[in-house]
């Protein structure tokens, strides 16, 4: 049954194409093509085209009437806000995608303009202009690295020659560093960063580029040792020196158990 249908449809299409190519010359005179098309009467072609066109027009008009009759006014600011947003649909704002945040920030007076993490303060200010809300000072966030015990300071438990990746290295007895908690330095976070904000220092520690970092948290999730966290940008650099001094004293020890001290050195300055 379906083969018959498709063959009829194919014939009608070939008729229709022929009709158009001959500038609507009547089908009976079209000659060869009509014979090749076989047994579909010309009237079927016409009724098909007419009925389909009529149905299309009827539905089109009905939809146009419905659209005009039941028009819903959408706040134009929603579209403006959506264009301002980075469009990453990352969900960091807590809404379903950028469109969801745009609708809520325009429609709901309690939703702050500063919730877009990748957009930072520049986007928050633009949204504040569009929505007429007050842009409170956005404290930008940034990733920071706890561990300051690079390869020059720390000792190796063994020589690791496996896949040069932290997630792989951590499977081998927790990695080759004598410090059980520290950064392994294979740059998994660098590869995880979608913004190219992480580079590895000479000492095999990740360096965060504060201008490029958007605090998306991908590196935090990628690090098997949890030595990266998202912090307020103003505090990102602080404590590093203190942690370095702890590292200088402790990382060289054959068995370090002072990571809590590295961490508290970072926290103390907050």
């Amino acid at each position: 049954m379906y083969e018959q249908m498709t063959s009829i449809l194919a014939q009608i299409f070939s008729h229709a194409i022929h009709l158009i190519s001959n500038k609507l010359v009547p089908l009976a005179e079209a000659g060869g093509a009509a014979q090749a098309a076989g047994n579909v009467p010309a009237s079927t072609v016409y009724t098909t085209l007419i009925v389909l066109a009529a149905l299309g027009i009827v539905f089109g008009i009905a939809l146009a009437v419905v659209a005009a009759r039941f028009v819903v006014k959408v706040d134009p600011r929603v579209e403006q806000v959506r264009e301002t947003l980075p469009g990453a649909n990352c969900g960091a704002c807590g809404f379903a995608g950028c469109m969801g945040y745009a609708e809520n920030v325009v429609g709901n007076p309690d939703v702050a303009v500063s919730m877009c993490a990748p957009g930072k303060s520049a986007v928050a200010e633009k949204i504040a202009v569009i929505t007429g809300k007050k842009a409170e000072k956005v404290e930008p966030k940034i990733a920071r690295v706890f561990c300051q015990g690079g390869t020059s300071l720390s000792q190796r438990k063994f020589i690791y020659t496996g896949v040069q990746d932290c997630t792989a290295a951590v499977l081998a007895a927790g990695g080759d560093k004598s410090c059980e908690y520290g950064c392994l330095g294979f740059g998994t976070c660098m590869r995880a960063c979608p913004f190219g904000a992480i580079t590895m220092s000479k000492d095999n520690l990740p360096l965060i580029n504060q201008d490029k970092c958007t605090a998306c948290g991908k590196c935090v999730a990628a690090c098997p040792k949890q030595v990266i966290e998202i912090a307020q940008a103003s505090k990102a650099g602080r404590g590093t020196a203190a942690a370095s001094s702890v590292s200088r004293r402790a990382c060289a020890a054959s068995r370090c158990s002072t990571f809590s001290r590295c961490r508290s050195a970072m926290y103390r300055v907050r």
Partner: protein, 194 residues
């Protein structure tokens, strides 16, 4: 006649259940049954759309397509009718009942090209059902589909807590479950003979 209508209703809901017997609409079936809330929303939307579009398509089939001998255009025209109706319903609902729109609107968009929605008018046309029979078929199919969705959603919510082997977690165990429920639904076959 009413007995016949009732028979069609029960047959399409249980014996020829779209998911478990005809194996149609499986993408939506697996897609929305992760949570009970979405399953119930989809069930309502599905049943309502089916009921209306089967009536619409019956009218067009019997008063436009048969007189002009255009039965072979069933698929094309039915899909067009469904798309137009769903689009119109979407627009009207957004204006008249926004609350319902925000609850069910996302499902409407999924429905347009769904195979179950298209299968109902196609089967109605093949069987030459009357208007009431068509609508009984649509209501039965809609409720049968709802039954399938709700059974699956409640099992999958329980499954969240079950200790499933790792390689079976998620979709694989759902496939296994669907097969088992389909086996159970085979028990309905032969319950009513038309």
């Amino acid at each position: 006649m009413w007995q016949h209508v009732l028979t069609i209703f029960i047959a399409s809901a249980l014996i020829n259940n779209f998911v478990f017997t005809r194996y149609l609409g499986l993408c939506i079936f697996f897609g929305v049954t992760k949570r009970m809330e979405t399953a119930v929303g989809m069930s309502f939307t599905f049943t309502a759309v089916m009921l209306v579009e089967s009536a619409l398509n019956w009218v067009i089939y019997n008063y436009v397509m048969i007189p002009y001998h255009l039965e072979f255009l069933k698929i094309v025209i039915f899909i067009g009718v469904i798309a137009a109706f769903v689009q119109a319903a979407d627009t009207i609902m957004k204006k008249v009942v926004p609350a319902l729109y925000y609850k069910l609107g996302i499902y409407l968009a999924l429905i347009v090209t769904n195979c179950v929605i298209l299968a109902v008018p196609l089967l109605n046309a093949d069987e030459n059902y009357t208007l009431f029979e068509s609508m009984a078929m649509a209501l039965g199919s809609g409720l049968g589909f709802s039954l399938a969705l709700i059974i699956m959603a409640s099992i999958r919510e329980k499954l969240e807590l079950a200790d499933v082997p790792k390689s079976f977690q998620g979709l694989p165990i759902s496939f296994v479950l669907t097969g088992l429920i389909a086996l159970a639904f085979l028990g309905f076959s032969g319950m009513i003979t038309l």
